[in-house]
């Protein structure tokens, strides 16, 4: 179970970092345009 806890913490940090990187690259605007003007 300890290994799984470490795996979760690593996954969570990577997931949040990836999301923040996407936001930092201003991808939200492109997602909005793609979704709204299909």
């Amino acid at each position: 179970m300890k290994g799984r806890t470490v795996a979760f913490l690593v996954t969570a940090v990577l997931a949040v970092s990836t999301l923040l990187f996407g936001i930092f690259r201003k991808e939200i605007a492109e997602v909005l345009i793609n979704g709204a003007l299909l």
């Binding site: 799984r4 979760f8 996954t11 997931a15 990836t18 999301l19 997602v31 979704g35 709204a36």
Partner: protein, 287 residues
């Protein structure tokens, strides 16, 4: 009661991301700020009432342009790291439709084990590689959810779009009919064999915050958990199975329960000791 709760959540999963009802009246897409949010469901953003964006459509759009959508990958990773595949089991409207279709009486079959790997091929091929090579969103073109929520409403409402219907539309209808028919015989065939979103979330089942825990001391291996499981797996053999939708139907059994990754002993060991039989064998608690 537990089933009813899940059906209510599945209903909310169908209604809330598609709550822009003026879209049906004005035959236009919602273009507000909510469209910048990727829903953790396979929910077509071409649906006239769609409020949120489809994460798989977003991934394909970026792949077709030679990029990776870190925003969509990050959104799905955060959801996956939190709850694993739980959104598939408790919120996905297409999953709910397949659950209901399986309730039809008639001939039933099980899906071959190897088909579970197809969804990873669909994810790699139709969501990343082929869109990158052809600059077209090929999964969206064939997606049965897109046909039901986007294609059919638009063709029904708009004469201009109706006149543009070509052979691809009939291929999409055939795909929908195939999955509707097979769902009456096989438990959730699309989720288990094809869904690329399920493929992404299933990668997180082993390391997500929420976990399914199994108590070997009280389990009688009766196999009833497989009978009620919507994806036909044995949670007692592998509680972190990548196929597990975390629908929690199997937690009706006291040997299975929802826990967190930080919980060291999810089951009360004192209770298990109290059920110890006279000859020293562990006896199951009353189910």
């Amino acid at each position: 009661m537990r089933y009813l709760k899940r059906r209510i959540f599945q209903g909310l999963g169908a209604v809330l991301p598609n709550a822009w009802l003026p879209g049906f009246l004005s035959a236009s897409l919602y273009q507000g700020p909510m469209k910048s949010v990727c829903t953790p469901l396979l929910n077509c953003y071409a649906c006239p009432s769609a409020l949120l964006s489809c994460p798989i459509g977003t991934l394909q759009h970026f792949a077709a342009g030679g990029n990776v959508s870190w925003y969509a990958v990050g959104t799905l990773s955060v959801v996956g790291a939190s709850v694993g595949r739980m959104t598939c089991g408790t919120l996905c409207p297409f999953g709910a439709l397949q659950d209901l279709l399986y309730k039809f009486r008639g001939w039933k079959a099980s899906l071959p084990h190897w088909t579970r790997y197809l969804r990873y091929a669909v994810l790699a091929g139709l969501v990343f590689v082929i869109p990158y090579l052809t600059h077209e969103n090929w999964f969206s073109k064939l997606c049965p959810v897109g046909t039901l929520m986007g294609g059919l409403p638009w063709v029904t409402m708009n004469a201009g779009i109706r006149s543009m219907v070509r052979s691809l539309f009939w291929v999409k209808i055939a795909i929908v009919l195939f999955f509707v028919t097979t769902s009456t015989m096989v438990k959730r065939p699309f989720c288990r064999a094809i869904c690329p979103l399920g493929a992404i979330f299933s990668l997180f089942n082993k390391s997500s915050f929420l976990q399914l825990a199994w108590d070997p001391d009280t389990c009688t291996r009766c196999g009833k958990c497989q009978m009620i499981c919507p994806v036909d797996i044995r949670p007692d053999r592998n509680p972190t199975d990548p196929d597990c939708l975390r629908c929690l139907d199997c937690t009706l059994c006291p040997s299975l329960k929802l826990t967190t990754v930080f919980q060291r002993q999810p089951f009360d060991t004192r209770k298990a000791t109290l059920t110890c039989g006279e000859n020293g064998l562990m006896m199951p608690r009353s189910h």
